[in-house]
């Protein structure tokens, strides 16, 4: 075996080893990131759930029906008659 061949062999062996380690590292990294992603996803779900709850609350509390009832009942408001409307140009 000539000297240059030996060098090549060593280089290739090292390359194989490092690529193998790279694969293992990448796989591990991907799993770690995925676990993290799952956590974030769960947090998003929680936030979305809360948001949904608040949206439903908003929809029921702020419905036109309630607004009109409170405006007409408790606050004694009413829409102006056409005779009382003046349009400012």
């Amino acid at each position: 075996m000539t000297r240059s061949r030996l060098v090549w062999l060593i280089v290739l062996v090292l390359a194989v080893i490092s690529s193998g380690i790279g694969v293992v590292y990448a796989k591990n990294q991907s799993r770690a990131l995925f676990v993290q992603l799952q956590k974030v996803r769960a947090a998003t779900d929680m936030a979305a759930m809360e948001w949904g709850r608040l949206q439903l609350e908003l929809a029921s509390e702020g419905s036109l029906e309630d607004v009109m009832r409170i405006a007409g009942g408790r606050l004694k408001m009413h829409a102006p008659e056409a005779a009382n409307v003046v349009v400012v140009e």
Binding site: R41, A82, V86
Partner: protein, 586 residues
Amino acid sequence: MAGRRDRRAKKVEREQAKLPSFAARRYGVLGIFALAASVLVWRAVDQQILEKDFLQSEGADRYLDRVEMVAHRGLITDRRGAVLALSTPVDSVAANPRVLRADSAALAPLAEALQMPLADLRQKLARYSQRRFVYLKRRMPPAEAAYVMEVARAYELGGVHLEREYRRYYPTGEVFSHVLGFTDYQDLGQEGLERAYNTALAGTPGSKLVLRDGRRRAVDDVENIQSPRDGKNLALSLDGRLQYIAYRELKAAVKRNRAISGAAVMLDARTGEVLAMVNQPGFNPNGSRSSKGGRLRNRALTDVFEPGSTMKPFAVAAALELGVVGPGSLVDTAPGYFKVRGGRVKDHHNLGQIDLQTLLGKSSNVGAAKLAMAMDSEDYWRVLDGFGFGQSTATAFPAEAGGQLISWRNWAEIDQATLSFGYGVSVTALQLARAYAVLANDGLSVPVSLLKVAQPPEAQRVISERTAVDVRHMLESVVLDGGTAPQAAVPGYRVAGKTGTVKKLGANGYSDDRYVAVFAGMAPLSDPRLVMVVMVDEPRGKHYYGGSVAGPVFAKVMGEALRLMNIKPDALTSPQARLAEAGGLQ
């Protein structure tokens, strides 16, 4: 010395003679060892190399598992962003009755956490004691379900677990029920827009690999196979406020007139967007959803009716457009009836010589029929076709009806005559609204849409601007005193519209006591923005005329809509005039 050596040699000889050679046995044992070793090596080779894939997958099956990752169903909002449909997670509590026995101690706190009587829980577990799975309680709010699990853990009750499901909520309840439809237990669209846009709303679920322990519990996430893609949100063209008002008024009118059903549609005349679409009877999408009496049907889109007199403006528009008459022409309706081949057309009263405005204001059948007979069949048909009669509204809504306009080739003389006052043609409420929108939009037709439109779609000219303006001004007389629908007037605004009181077609021809009351109109007349059609089926109260049954619904909803949309009143007396009236202007 020699003797001693001899003795020793003899002794060795003796011993050698006594010990047999074990070579065969030795080789035999060695052979057995070699065989055993080679069997082991072969087995190793077999398992490690030849059967490797099979065995590895078998192993993985026992500790790895593919689990679906749910894609969230998209929201549905109204045009202003208010939520109309929303999926929220709920948890169902399930148990393995073989582990959680009916006679377990500490069932009482579990029953309390589940908010169910202890006896019921015990009975349920006893009944399914041979099964491995039973739902204890379905669709609990996640916080309450988490509390159940806490209790189960605290009392060391095994065999209880949660299953995540999604439930769709409709905060507006019945108001939007027909338009939205609803989803099934898997959160897939079953009716309405939920069904029409199910694919976009549902998204695509993903999957992942998880590690399971000896009890099949997922202990760790291993790998992402496919990320879930959440469903898209849907923004409707409808306005929640207008929808609510329309629903309230239609419901009241249907009840007041003891009608079978009703439908109302409001359109933005310029963009073709549907701003409100309501029906009666309704249903609660969060509740039982019984389909009794067709209450699930979005009648405004799925049910057709003969438009009756609401069709007359299109006869007038066609006659003007085709040059058969001019805006100032008179039509002779004397003596109040009119014979055509195949039948007779008549009015309630003999109206004599009338102009087009009176024709529409007093709703003369004879006048409309005379205009129709004066037109060439094909030309008349082309104009009606342009207004969209017999053409689907193409909103992609499930079971959307297209109405019917018979081809002019198959018209008998009587068909051409009755068509002018709306018999022998069928429409949905939305189709009729679309046709009125052409009059409102200066003769241009825009496609209608249930979804919010980013920019106005390309319009198609149906009739000239002149004709559209003329016809809609003629329609103002309908809502003025002396017209057929003064109840449809909106204070502060100029309104144009047309009533229809249509005899229903039964098994024995047209009925004399079953009607459909219709009103179609637009406002503000000086620059129409909103078009609305109200249809009430079989009013059985004191009134049955379109003007008195459907007119008030139009007036109320249109009035509120104009105010909420900040549309300038066009029928106010000017401030100067008012001041002068009050004597404030010197």
